[in-house]
């Protein structure tokens, strides 16, 4: 009997572990982070979550510095997109990791173009947001906020997440003035931090830290009047 159990164990352990029916595959990237408590959490969050919110960049005009004005047509200010997030403990600091399996929606991608309209780069940019998932559906949306269903409770002041679809072209405006280290802006997900403007550079720029850089989220009261503006991340965003 013992030998039979041993044989079964050997057979059972041969090869790879099998994936189950709910397997999502290998993630493109896994974001690690921690949530820190800010001040004045009232009321205390019930179901705190951390997730990524991708603004709809495709609806905005593409920034073309030094070019003649180009009529990009009507603005498309549709809702932003929410990427899969992760639940965190209500006791802070709380660690989390977010698995990203797919690129962000195409409408979240914005482009950098030269004066002739040639593509200099394309990427999406996400805020790292903490929210109270009051309706317990694991998602966050502006509609749920407007409807008072979910409640934002914090954001990352220091980090954002970008997805590079088309890396910046060397010598392009994006290469020269958006990224501090453009050669690191390879295709895929990256964590970025803001680099403040200085005398030489009138706009903030972003430094690519890599997807394994841990995110830091401050859970602090956020209301309708709060402008989510991470520190020194006021760079020239891509557009249509």
């Amino acid at each position: 009997m013992r030998r039979a159990a041993l044989l079964l164990s050997v057979l059972a352990g041969c090869g790879d572990p099998l994936a189950e029916g709910d397997y999502l595959g290998s993630p493109m990237t896994i974001l690690q982070g921690r949530a820190l408590a800010g001040s004045g959490q009232d009321p205390a969050p019930v179901r705190p979550h951390v997730g990524l919110v991708w603004p709809r960049l495709s609806g905005f005009p593409s920034p073309r510095v030094g070019c003649d004005p180009i009529d990009d047509g009507d603005l498309d200010e549709g809702p932003s997109f929410f990427a899969a997030g992760a639940r965190i403990d209500a006791v802070f600091p709380s660690t989390f990791h977010i698995e990203l399996y797919d690129p962000p929606p195409p409408a979240a991608l914005g482009s950098y173009r030269d004066c002739e309209g040639a593509l200099d780069g394309r990427m999406a940019v996400a805020f790292v947001l903490a929210f109270d998932d009051l309706d317990d559906d694991g998602t966050f949306s502006e509609e749920s906020v407007n409807g008072g269903v979910d409640r934002p409770i914090g954001y990352s002041d220091r980090h954002m997440v970008i997805y590079v679809d088309v890396p910046p072209r060397p010598g392009s405006f994006a290469w020269e003035h958006v990224f501090l280290n453009p050669e690191a802006a390879t295709r895929g997900y990256h964590v970025v931090e803001g680099v403040c403007a200085d005398l030489e550079e009138p706009l903030d720029r972003i430094r690519v830290l890599g997807a394994s850089e841990p995110l830091e989220v401050i859970v602090t009261p956020v209301d309708d009047d709060t402008e989510v503006e991470p520190h020194c991340l006021n760079f020239l965003w891509p557009g249509r």
């Binding site: 057979l11 059972a12 709910d22 999502l24 595959g25 399996y101």
Partner: protein, 517 residues
């Protein structure tokens, strides 16, 4: 199962012939004694009293014995036997016509005495009662252990017998001893036959199986020849070993005695066995008592009371079976074309032939239930099966695939499995049902149709109960269905670094066909 009887007995055959009055046939008297209960530590026999009833019935039906002249003693003591034989002898003295006395005993005995329900009757006393009988012809048949000790014959064969009708003038006298076994041998009962071996074959001989020369009469010599040959053949493979019936024929002249004329009674029918072979005849159905066994190298004929009989004919690798109606005064032919052929695995399970195993191959299509939420798998199966008397072994190979859609991924799973099953089969008419256990292993390959997500391949073990049903179609072809409830032993986990051992349970079912060899 064979029950052994202990004891020693001898059979004395005393023949004293007296000239018969012209035109007068001998009157026949019989005393048939059966004793299931012996003495002391004798194991209780099952069929001795039934043996006596059977012989008595045959003598009445086809031996020319008037019913009032046949005495059956079952479960009696030595005093009862003594009183009965003395009583018959007294009747014989009062009847001056030629006569025949037939005394039959089946039960326990030893070298000195018969064992009768706690009492002993010296063998010499019985011998003297018979040999001293006023009957013209005296026959004593004794079916008990170690009979040859009294005859001091370690196996023997009857000499050439020649038929002499009792009605004819006989000028021989003497003593003949018939034994059911040689010195040192046990005499055995057979649960399968429902009788002792020797009496069973003696009875078969008397109703016609022993009519070697085909003259419609069965002589003492013919009946003993048939009974001894069949007894030796049947007991050769038993645990107790072969049994060698013997006899000693001491006659001033050689003559034979016609014991039965099986085919002259209008009250009986005839069962014709048109082909040489080995036949077993049961009353009513296969489960009914065995009434005759015929093994002959030429066509045979036996007499039976009207009724329905189940006849089986044994060949080296198959059986033929069928039901036949026997009517009084009519002949019923056992036609092989009207019999069912039992072949392949069924004949192995049934036994009675030389075939010890049967091979078959099968092919099936089936499904396997969901495993780890990966969907139901469609499978193709093929295998081979080896049937023995008590167990069937099946080796199965299967290939299957399933498709599952996770929230973002298509998961294709392929499985190649091999398993061995051991089943116990039960033949119920044209359907065979089997239950058992199946165990084996499989190789499972998962493909995710996404370059970024690596494929996974794993070996797993499986075990579980299994059941099957098979419907015989024609010849070697059968329709089959089977299923199992399987426990898989495997490693699972979406995150390879956090995998764990799991034992999910699922089911398998398949439908197909089998071809036997």
């Amino acid at each position: 199962m064979i029950a052994l009887r202990r004891g020693v007995a001898a059979c004395l055959l005393a023949l004293l012939f007296a000239p018969a009055p012209a035109g007068a046939g001998p009157r026949r008297y019989a005393v048939a004694i059966g004793a299931n209960e012996g003495v002391g530590g004798d194991e209780r026999l099952l069929y001795a009293e039934r043996d006596a009833q059977r012989i008595a019935g045959i003598l009445r039906d086809v031996g020319g014995f008037a019913p009032e002249d046949v005495l059956v003693l079952a479960g009696v003591t030595a005093s009862d036997v003594r009183r009965a034989v003395i009583g018959v002898n007294a009747r014989l003295r009062a009847d001056p016509s030629p006569s025949l006395l037939f005394v039959f005993y089946s039960g326990h005995a030893d070298a000195e005495a018969l064992h009768l329900r706690g009492t002993r009757m010296p063998l010499a006393e019985l011998r003297d009662l018979v040999t001293g009988s006023p009957a013209g012809v005296r026959v004593l048949v004794l079916d008990a252990c170690r009979a040859g000790a009294l005859t001091r014959v370690k196996g023997g064969r009857p000499g050439p017998s020649f038929r002499v009708d009792v009605e004819d003038r006989l000028d021989a006298e003497g003593v003949a001893i018939l034994t059911s076994s040689a010195a040192g041998e046990d005499s055995q009962e057979s649960d399968h036959l429902g009788a002792s071996f020797f009496t069973h074959y003696l009875a078969s001989a008397l109703i016609g199986a022993g009519d070697r020369n085909g003259d419609g009469k069965v002589s003492l010599g013919e009946s003993f020849t048939y009974a001894s040959e069949r007894t030796l053949a049947a007991t050769s493979a038993t645990v107790a070993g072969p049994q060698h019936p013997t006899y000693r024929w001491e006659l001033g002249g050689r003559s034979d005695v016609v014991l039965t004329r099986p085919f002259t009674s209008a009250a009986l029918g005839k069962l014709e066995l048109p082909h040489a072979g080995s036949y077993l005849v049961h009353e009513r159905a296969a489960e009914g008592p065995v009434v005759a066994e015929v093994a002959s190298t030429r066509p045979g004929l036996i007499a039976l009371a009207p009724g329905t009989y189940f006849v089986s004919r044994r060949a080296p690798d198959h059986l033929l079976e069928g039901e036949f109606r026997v009517d009084a005064g009519r002949r019923t032919r056992v036609d092989p074309a009207s019999m069912r052929r039992i072949d392949y695995a069924r004949v192995v399970r049934k036994g009675g032939t030389q075939r010890g195993s049967a091979l078959a191959v099968f092919a099936q299509a089936g499904v396997r239930g969901p495993l780890l939420g990966l969907g139901t798998a469609v499978r193709a199966e093929a295998g081979t099966r080896l049937d023995f008397a008590g167990v069937s072994l099946q080796l199965r190979f299967a290939a299957g695939s399933s498709q599952a859609d996770s929230p973002r991924l298509d998961i294709g799973t392929r499985e190649i499995a091999a398993s061995l099953a051991a089943l116990r089969d039960f033949d119920l008419g044209v359907i065979t049902l089997g239950v058992g256990v199946e165990a084996g292993g499989a190789w499972i390959a998962q493909r995710f149709h996404e370059e970024r997500t690596p494929d996974r391949d794993a070996g797993v073990a499986l075990v579980g109960p299994t059941a099957e049903a098979e419907l015989r179609l024609a010849g070697p072809l059968s329709l089959r269905a089977d299923g199992s409830l399987l426990t898989y032993f495997l490693e699972a986990g979406n995150d390879p670094g956090a995998a764990s051992s799991r034992t999910p349970v699922t089911w398998r079912a398949a439908l197909g066909a089998a071809l036997a060899f």
